[in-house]
């Protein structure tokens, strides 16, 4: 039994080293090598997209959290009409692919509204809209998870709907939904690459442009992957730090 597993491992090792060697012979890392002048220039060009990836994602997530919360609240109403509004919004928005929404907002909205939308704002609107449906569901679940006793205590103190939300429910709900919110931020960072199709100069667009002039897709896209990886690892660490900080002082 043991020797079969050992033999299997040997095969995998052999196969992967052959594959790596094969690739290595084709790799031309000089295009993105920090050791050469042109490599450094190319790397800087690629990293230059970071600013827009961040700006796009962060603006979109802020808007989608706000919209998501506003959509979640009617979903918690006793009135079936309000709940219907929430359901329709979530179902419709969730059904549209992000890429389609980006194209629609950029090319379609100017025709409907009669005013041009910049590439940046088209991207932000599409990403935020698309994400808001998911944020709405996250907030609804988070708010519903708050113990009834908390609401009764608020009521018995005479707090109104907004005070109750603002001071009692939301501070507790947000702590609970922080992990899924972090997920959505990571998702947003990745989806922002789709805005490259309408010409946003973010990370993916920069990589595409460099590939067109340098003809080295493997190396350049590998760097692109590493860029996203580093960015997202950093964001995840940030979210976890925030969770710990908020969890430290209370609840069990």
């Amino acid at each position: 039994m043991g020797h079969i597993i050992r033999r299997q491992r040997l095969w995998i090792l052999l196969a992967s080293s052959v594959l790596l060697a094969g690739c290595a012979s084709n790799l031309q890392w000089y295009v993105v090598s920090p050791a050469t002048e042109s490599g450094r220039a190319n790397l800087l060009f690629l990293a230059g997209g970071l600013k827009y990836t961040l700006l796009l994602s962060c603006t979109a997530i802020v808007i989608s959290v706000v919209v998501g919360l506003l959509v979640a609240l009617p979903g918690l109403s006793k009135n079936p009409l309000w709940r219907g509004v929430n359901r329709v919004y979530v179902e419709v928005v969730r059904a549209v692919p992000i890429l389609v929404l980006i194209l629609w907002v950029y090319y379609g909205l100017p025709i409907v509204m009669g005013l041009a939308v910049s590439v940046f704002w088209a991207g932000v609107i599409a990403l935020a809209l698309s994400d808001s449906a998911f944020e709405a569901e996250i907030f609804r679940a988070g708010i519903q998870s708050i113990d009834r006793g908390q609401l009764e205590a608020s009521d018995s103190l005479g707090l109104g709907y907004f005070d109750r939300m603002r001071y009692v429910v939301l501070p507790q709900a947000i702590r609970r939904v922080l992990p899924p919110l972090g997920n959505q931020l990571v998702y947003m960072l990745k989806m922002s690459s789709l805005v490259s199709v309408i010409g946003m100069e973010e990370l993916t667009r920069r990589a595409n442009e460099l590939v067109t002039s340098q003809y080295r897709p493997l190396e350049i896209y590998t760097v692109l992957i590493i860029e996203y990886l580093l960015l997202i690892l950093l964001v995840s660490a940030g979210v976890r730090w925030l969770e710990r900080r908020l969890a430290r002082r209370d609840e069990r």
């Binding site: 006793g149 009764e152 009521d155 103190l157 005479g158 001071y167």
Partner: protein, 255 residues
């Protein structure tokens, strides 16, 4: 002069329930319950589990909406008017079995929230009020702790202080010691006895018969959604009128 004439006249009614019913689906949790509590009166409500004690007491501040009958607090009949309801709730404090403190707020913040948001007091005034009532429940040193850092008895005392910070006319207690470890029960009951001595009007659902004997002006015994017996504590404990009341007392005094 005025004081003399007031004390000689009967205390005004502060809570009145007339034929109050409450249904959960087809199940009737309250069956035409009527009662009257006058200012300064201490009413202790007891009865077997599921007899409707919580539903009854929760109707007084409308955490539970009654389906039929009339609930009148401080001369105002409670209806569906949200604004009026909030006004009444500032006059009626409530202490829950599960404390229901706000876990994300410090003790002091728990106490200050109602006064600042509902009574619109300024922060320094609310803080002074909060500290005064923390002294009253004898845990001023815990002001900056969070609820999870306190014992059950301390948490319930904070909850009592939180209600008192609204300076209510009536205090409702729904089994305030039932979730506590035995050694913490007396510290909470002591605070409640002291509160009773200040003349507060109280409605207390409890099975602590020692407390009832010491504090109650009126004993109410409930069963099956109805008030079976209303009497003085001496009468209830020595010769309960109803058979179910006798049975209940026997069971509860056994241990």
């Amino acid at each position: 002069m005025n004081i003399v004439s007031q004390s000689s006249s009967p205390a005004p009614t502060i809570i009145e329930l007339e034929k109050v019913s409450r249904f959960f689906g087809s199940f009737q949790a309250l069956n035409e319950v009527s009662l009257r509590v006058s200012a300064g009166e201490k009413m202790v409500i007891c009865g077997p589990s599921g007899s409707g004690k919580s539903t009854l007491i929760r109707c007084v501040n409308q955490l539970e909406k009654h389906d039929a009958g009339r609930v009148t607090v401080n001369g105002v009949e409670l209806g569906r008017n949200a604004k009026q309801l909030r006004a009444i709730r500032t006059d009626v404090g409530m202490v829950f079995q599960q404390f229901n403190l706000f876990p994300h707020l410090s003790v002091l913040e728990n106490l200050m929230l109602g006064p600042m948001r509902t009574r619109k007091l300024t922060k320094p005034v609310a803080m002074e009020l909060a500290m005064r009532y923390l002294h009253r429940v004898r845990i001023p040193e815990q002001a900056d702790k969070y609820p999870s850092q306190l014992s059950g008895g301390q948490q319930q005392r904070v909850a009592i202080a939180r209600s008192l910070c609204m300076e209510p006319k009536v205090m409702l207690f729904d089994e305030p010691t039932s979730a506590l470890d035995p050694e913490m029960i007396s510290e909470v009951l002591d605070v409640m006895v002291e509160l009773a001595d200040t003349g507060m009007t109280m409605m207390v659902v409890t099975h602590e018969m020692g407390f009832a004997r010491q504090v109650a002006d009126t004993m109410v015994f409930m069963d099956g959604g109805k008030i079976v017996e209303t009497s003085s504590p001496e009468q209830f404990f020595t010769r309960p009128q109803s058979e179910r009341g006798q049975l209940f007392l026997k069971q509860i005094l056994q241990h």
